[in-house]
């Protein structure tokens, strides 16, 4: 595996999540002879140029045909390959949803579906290209493992972990170029085990993907206001880490979920489902995107517009604690 150190992560951060996925796959290919990578005519956009040139026998371009791509990946998996099938989030999660259901859910074929540029990363390409409902759809399909890495280093970790995991995986990539850095050194990553990045006694913020970094920023801002915050990287959205959630319930007065996804059906919903069985659990504030197709703007602008940055998250938490607003997003 590539070495995770302060210098490499700075370089990866500049390249961004898509290029990092390409680098990770290229590195993985050296260790995994039965790797196969599929793209629906988005190889360049998915950072797969170098892989396609270096391993032409292991790269399949299905053309602009995502449904077929998932079925073909399943056929390859059936015969012992480990296929990574890639496209932009809505095209893979929704255009090919039933293929994912039949092949990856029902038949449990060992396919890794990679949703490139999920959330709002597509910026000016608009809502047609945003991945704002993919978790809601994908999370409801049995047998799928759903992972959303927090930064470029974690993309590397997740690509390796998914390849080693026997079974279907949906990998959700968020962020653009200049992806914020969460991890600067190597660390233990296990599918299904959330990582506590910061301890605190008042509020637990649980996030995945791009929002992990923003949650850490929010925690710092809140600390200046004398609110003690713990932050969890819930990289695996399914299966949820119930032990981590129980710790959040028992050690905080407020649980907050933050995600670059609709407030319907993502991590917030998953935590709400889990929390519903715990009578004494603290209140849950779910932060995410409103249930609408909103404005189009550049990525950073959109994150700020929807309050999905450190300051926005901090304000929402303070408002909730003040009792002035019950839920900034859902209202």
């Amino acid at each position: 595996m590539l070495d995770i150190n302060p210098s490499s992560v700075r370089q990866w951060s500049r390249l961004g999540s898509r290029a990092m996925f390409g680098q990770s796959i290229l590195a993985l290919a050296e260790n995994l002879s039965n790797l196969m990578v599929l793209s629906a005519d988005l190889g360049k956009s998915s950072g797969l140029d170098r892989f396609a040139a270096a391993y032409p026998e292991q790269f399949i371009n299905t053309g602009i045909a995502e449904q077929n791509m998932i079925g073909v990946a399943a056929g390859l998996a059936k015969e012992g390959f480990v296929p990574f099938a890639t496209s932009f989030a809505p095209f893979i999660a929704m255009r090919a949803c039933e293929q994912i259901r039949m092949n990856m859910g029902y038949m449990q074929m060992n396919v890794k579906a990679v949703a490139i540029g999920s959330g709002l990363a597509m910026g000016f390409l608009g809502n047609s290209h945003y991945g704002t409902e993919d978790l809601a759809v994908i999370r409801s399909i049995p047998n799928l493992t759903v992972i959303a890495p927090a930064d470029c280093a974690e993309i590397l970790k997740v690509v390796y972990a998914a390849a080693a995991h026997e079974g279907p995986v949906y990998i959700r990539l968020t962020g653009s170029i200049n992806t914020p850095i969460v991890y600067s050194a190597d660390y233990d990553f296990s599918i299904g085990q959330a990582i506590q990045l910061r301890t605190g006694t008042d509020v637990s913020i649980i996030a995945h993907g791009s929002m992990v970094h923003e949650a850490l920023l929010a925690a710092k801002l809140l600390e200046e206001k004398n609110v003690s915050v713990s932050v969890w990287n819930m990289h695996t959205v399914k299966p949820l880490d119930g032990n981590a959630l129980e710790q959040c319930y028992s050690h905080s007065k407020l649980v907050v979920t933050v995600e670059e996804h609709s407030v319907i059906g993502g991590l917030g919903s998953a935590v709400a489902e889990h929390r519903s069985l715990y009578a004494a659990a603290p209140p849950l504030l779910r932060l995410g995107l409103p249930d609408q197709y909103g404005v189009t703007a550049d990525y950073r602008y959109l994150l700020e517009y929807y309050g999905l940055v450190g300051s926005g998250i901090g304000s929402a938490v303070l408002s909730f604690l003040d009792g002035s607003k019950t839920n900034t997003v859902l209202s």
């Binding site: 053309g63 449904q67 079925g71 399943a74 056929g75 059936k78 015969e79 012992g80 390959f81 039933e98």
Partner: protein
């Protein structure tokens, strides 16, 4: 190929189809199960390399039933070659049975994939064919589609890719019985020029009478051209072999009550073998 043996094989399949349909006491997809009988009799009885004692044999030929509702014509063939016992067949459409109205992947039974939702099988078959090429294995992949199923867009996506990758180890068969759930295909989506369409998508196309044993056998033996995937467009009769079901779409999905069952049995008993 022993044509007499294959005709007996087909007759055995039809008898089993009628038994299963009656015994389950529920509606079953009779019409499309009967139209595919000769296709599967030839494939399972004379063409494919399979070993029921070793269902995961690496070099076996692969068969995918993309028109998943054709289970009657599939389970009966798997029974005839020894994958599924008569006892097991009796559980067809019983609560919690492995044998339901669509295939559920089960390698012990020789069932390579789960189907039911239409338009999935050809994509998976393309993936399997690509895997065989990359592994440099010599097995052949057969995938059976319905003509109505070809309404699904994903079928045409898979057709394009199979031609692009020159998958000459792949043979698709279209059971062209001319009907789909809502009636005649020409009244829903007219695919009369089906062969031309596959040809234009880059496939090696053969059109045959899908109930003519010799014709079918020759077609499958001719799936040897290099660098092109093959398709056998098999013109069939929906409900073939049972007079009152033939070309009567009421039998697309219907219950075989006692009187109908007895008539069907009588018709089949009058034959020593099926087909021409």
């Amino acid at each position: 190929m022993d044509a007499q043996k294959i005709r007996a094989f087909a007759l055995r399949m039809r008898r089993m189809i009628i038994e299963m349909s009656h015994q389950c006491n529920m509606s079953a997809h009779l019409g499309g199960g009967l139209s595919m009988v000769e296709i599967n009799a030839i494939l399972f009885g004379a063409i494919m390399r399979l070993d029921p004692k070793n269902p995961r044999w690496t070099d076996r030929d692969r068969y995918i039933l993309s028109k998943g509702h054709g289970v009657l014509g599939y389970f009966s063939a798997l029974h005839a070659v020894g994958f599924i016992s008569a006892e097991k067949l009796k559980t067809f459409l019983q609560n919690e049975s492995d044998l339901i109205a669509h295939p559920v992947m089960n390698m012990e039974f020789g069932i390579e994939s789960s189907n039911g939702s239409l338009g999935h099988g050809l994509s998976m078959a393309v993936g399997v064919a690509l895997a065989a090429k990359r592994h440099r294995q010599a097995y052949h992949i057969y995938v059976l589609l319905g003509d109505g199923e070809c309404n699904e867009g994903a079928v045409w996506e898979a057709m394009m890719l199979a031609a692009q990758y020159q998958l000459d180890n792949l043979t698709a068969i279209v059971d062209m019985n001319g009907y789909q759930s809502d009636g005649k295909t020409e009244r829903v989506i007219n695919l009369k020029n089906m062969a031309d369409r596959w040809r234009q998508f880059g496939w090696h196309v053969q059109e045959v009478d899908g109930h003519d044993i010799d014709n079918l056998y020759q077609a499958f033996c001719s799936c040897t051209l290099a660098d092109q995937p093959h398709v056998v467009i098999a013109r069939t009769v929906k409900g073939k072999g049972i007079s009152f079901m033939e070309n009567n779409n009421d039998w697309h999905h219907a219950r075989l009550t006692k009187n109908w069952y007895e008539q069907a049995v009588m018709e089949l008993d009058g034959k020593t073998s099926c087909s021409t």
